[in-house]
Symmetry: C2
């Protein structure tokens, strides 16, 4: 019985006789043997771990249910494949270079990259170093060679806006997300598409761009109310923003709801809080768990040498509750 044969058994290769296999397995169980990962990595050149990299502040990462949900589903999917998830947050720009060096050092076999800002070249750098990367959200650089998984942000935003029009609201505003991110841009595009499709014109007074946070939504809504007190409906680019917007509306004495005189609000994401909100939030549901799982699966596929589709767009759906 040589080390080579033992190694073959432990790696589950097929070209081993049944007796040899049984013998090795029994022996391994006997001494409760665990292969040394470092030694294996050294020779295979693989680390059996992938990075979950979020390019946001700690605060955002741990506050936004979207990131938490993505982390959760990625962790499950990756762990199920026997790989480790190395969780990293790069809150500052300097962290970028450090992460690239880290990845280049072969510490991770691939990267799940979330919340890419602007035309950041991080994914291109990683790919150039031979580190397969899968993004959450379409890269703004428009680089076709990149792999990404995204929700149908444009379609969802259009759906939400059209829903507001169809409920009889004529003056529909939008609280947008950050415009240096694809989700922020796309949800604004969807709003504009709905405007266009119904023959309305785009009015900057009805648009306030904020963050995806509730503070951002609150401030944006204040600005819109100041400019256009005649607003009848609002599409907020995230649930957190919608919650902030509703707070602003209520402070201005506006009632939020689906009734005739009420102002209607639709969010985006369908986070857990959306349903528990008073009144429960009407929103566009984005399949967060599926998004995370799909990203992970794409990366796993790439790691095993396959070439999965570069682009995967998951459908969203409108969840009608009490705010619109």
């Amino acid at each position: 019985m040589s080390r080579a044969t033992a190694s073959r058994v432990l790696r589950g290769q097929s070209n081993v006789s049944d007796e040899a296999r049984d013998a090795v397995q029994a022996a391994a169980r006997e001494i409760s043997y665990t292969p040394n990962k470092a030694a294996r990595s050294l020779v295979t050149g693989r680390s059996d771990s992938v990075a979950f990299l979020v390019d946001e502040s700690e605060e955002r990462m741990f506050t936004d249910p979207f990131f938490l949900g993505m982390l959760r589903s990625a962790q499950v999917t990756v762990a199920a494949a026997g790989l480790q998830l190395v969780f990293t947050v790069t809150s500052r720009r300097e962290d970028h270079a450090q992460f690239v060096a880290y990845a280049a050092g072969g510490h991770v076999d691939g990267v799940l990259l979330l919340s890419l800002h602007g035309e950041d070249q991080l994914p291109q750098q990683l790919e150039a170093l031979g580190v397969p990367t899968v993004l959450s959200g379409r890269p703004l650089s428009g680089d076709d060679s990149l792999f990404y998984v995204d929700a149908d942000n444009v379609g969802g935003a259009t759906m939400a806006t059209e829903y507001l029009f169809s409920s009889g609201r004529q003056v529909v505003a939008t609280v947008t997300g950050p415009q240096d991110m694809c989700a922020g841009q796309d949800r604004l595009t969807g709003y504009r598409n709905a405007l266009e499709a119904s023959g309305r014109s785009y009015d900057e007074g009805l648009v306030a761009s904020g963050e995806f946070t509730s503070e951002g939504g609150y401030a944006s809504m204040q600005r819109i109310l100041a400019r256009r007190p005649d607003v009848e409906g609002v599409f907020a680019a995230s649930d957190l923003a919608a919650i902030g917007a509703i707070r602003a509306l209520e402070e201005h004495g506006r009632r939020v709801g689906r009734g005739a005189g009420d102002i209607a609000v639709v969010g985006f994401d369908d986070i857990r809080d959306a349903a528990q909100q008073r009144p429960p939030l009407t929103t566009v549901r984005q399949p967060i768990a599926e998004l995370g799982a799909t990203m992970s699966r794409r990366l796993l596929e790439r790691l095993s040498g396959d070439e999965p589709p570069h682009r995967t767009i998951l459908p969203v759906e409108l969840v009608e509750r009490e705010t619109a």
Copy 2:
């Protein structure tokens, strides 16, 4: 210039001449050299990573702000020391053995262990294998050799209960946490201590044990109300439970607040939602970030060969808001 010298420079050892050091550093920068971690681990026997292990369901882990807060501060502290955090959730018992094998394989240098249940021997097993472990919360096994960091659960619960008495409530109930966990037990002990100190007797009708969840708090409160409709104040062992309890009280037509006829409720944790609740929740603040950071520091100290204190109890404080 030998590999040995280069290695010495890169590891920051002192017995190298200045010229040699400069030369190596320049060369390293030139080729943007990154040491291969696997090779290093193979020879040093260290992995430069520590596990963050939560013995709870995925759902709990990602839903309870306590765990999220601990993850956050542990991640920051560990990353600052140049180590990786390997994030693991063992939702099922079978995962235990697998994790032990994993740790035994030298994949992690130490373990941060959260949410230990009952008299689980996991920490003892890990220590026996030579894997330093630091717990969050006093182990129920009462094993003095273990290392742990905890909040002053007993003191906090006593403080909360005495506060309720001092506001004039005579009949004070408690919604406890799970009794297979130290935090659950200790917070009940604190409640009993307050009873005793004020010469009151313990009444089982005023105690309902639930989970740390809001559903658990809701159900427990229902039971207490059925048995003791004369209840005037409630100490809930977690904020989530307090939120559930308040929901139950309101459904029973009881007003929650600090006024004369109101029923008073005090929670425990001071999660973010506590302040945003309507009415804002009076609660015992547990320093979550500090708890996570201290655990991590203790582990880091052990990894560098020190023997830190086995037991660290961090103080809690009462935050007075509108519910009591």
